[in-house]
Symmetry: C2
Subunit: 229 residues, 2 copies
DNA sequence: AATATACAAATTGGATACAAATACTCACCC
DNA sequence: GGGTGAGTATTTGTATCCAATTTGTATATT
């Protein structure tokens, strides 16, 4: 039996991973309470490692602690969506460029692996798997760029993006996913070829697609047009 | 006496602030051990709030925990300096542009306050105060932009920058600080005028100055030229 | 009836106690 | 004399315990 001997120190990581997955899935909705006692019961550990995991989530911006009260899943505030899209666009461009300049064989392998998962998820119409593999694909591009400042910011953006898109994933029922699969393939090709200018332009184009998506699907919810640019 | 009744919840913040200041000053050198027991004695609190503060420092990238061993101040690795400068340059430009577009009166007030401190520190040749007020000045510009994704990244960059420059602050004995004072004033003027294109260009120019500084003062230490761009 | 106040219950923040893993010491062996 | 190993000591990781703050409820007062 390869029953992991529950190694010391692995507790907070397990709890963190589980909660993070639930938050990104929107299994835990924005605003949902994260009760320390409940969680310690659920994971069979004391409150100490639970608190450590919660503090990491807070550092990621995925949770927020209300002083002397409980911790909650961070809300998605729509007024910051334009800021979000601005930063996302910039990071698509920058990471695309850097990846073209610095990609190594193992980076391309990671990108292809994530892209294969993405294509499979699209074929299966599995929205959650789509969002997750899409996130991993773009994260692989950022990692290929090798700049941890960009990688860390981009991960935060992609995390928030998973939650935003999960709200509106109905849009993925349309023809767009196939379009994204093709675009991803094109990005891999350009990055492999090392064409930095084209990779940056592609990143901008890809971002524009997503901006358009969100405009179409969020604006109606808000009841008014989102002021973008 | 306005003796703050030591309010519950303020412990970790105090410890975090004190340690962060020491790390940015380089009073705590990179690689220095952060012993939980020592710190709890020093601050007169138990290990619990100390650990919380350390975890926040780790999340900031200022400290690193070695599993089952102690936490240390994160090392400054010179091989990532080019990445650092790349991201810093981009953030100078982006935050300059955004600040010009979205500045409010209170933002300009904060910028001017930090700039006054910076000028005073330059006049007094106080290197630490220079670095700190310089950091606060640029952070005020980022805050004026209002995009928390950029603000958070920029704060990390400015933190790392304080440590890097502290290593080589002899360069500030030269004529350059006065140059920086003038440039900062020019940035305030352009941001107040709302000229986004010029503000972005200024940011890039300012970054170029710093890149040049670091090249001149770090390259000799490394024994070879740093490959930049 | 509505509001304010006092009381009670629940939950977080912090302290202490305990267990596991690592580092250090010193002796012993080659 | 140097290296290896057992045993000890120190330090982190986890559990439990206590206190302080807040929320909700019930009662009393206007």
């Amino acid at each position: 039996m390869t029953n992991d001997p529950p190694r010391r120190g692995g507790g907070p990581q397990k709890i963190y991973d589980a909660l993070k997955a639930d938050i990104l899935n929107m299994s835990l909705a924005p605003g949902a309470a994260l009760d320390e006692t409940d969680l310690s019961a659920r994971f069979g550990m004391s409150r100490t490692p639970v608190r450590e995991a919660l503090q990491k989530l807070v550092a990621d911006g995925l949770a927020t602690t209300l002083p002397n009260r409980n911790t909650v899943v961070t809300a998605l505030d729509f007024e910051s969506v334009p800021h979000y899209l601005d930063a996302l666009t910039l990071m698509y461009r920058v990471t695309g460029r850097l990846a073209a300049l610095r990609r190594k064989p193992e980076d391309l392998a990671r990108m292809r692996a994530a892209q294969a998962e993405f294509a499979a998820a699209v074929a299966a119409s599995d929205a959650i798997a789509m969002l997750e593999s899409n996130r991993n694909f773009h994260l692989a591009i950022a990692q290929a760029g090798g700049n941890r400042y960009y990688t860390d910011l981009f991960e935060r953006l992609l995390n928030d993006g998973m939650r935003l898109l999960r709200l509106y994933y109905r849009s993925y029922q349309d023809s767009l996913p196939q379009e994204f699969v093709r675009e991803h393939d094109a990005m891999i090709a350009v990055i492999e070829a090392g064409d930095a200018d084209t990779a940056e332009r592609q990143g901008g184009d890809h971002a524009r697609q997503i901006v358009g998506q969100l405009q179409r699907f969020i604006a109606p919810v808000l009841g008014a047009a989102v002021p973008l640019e």
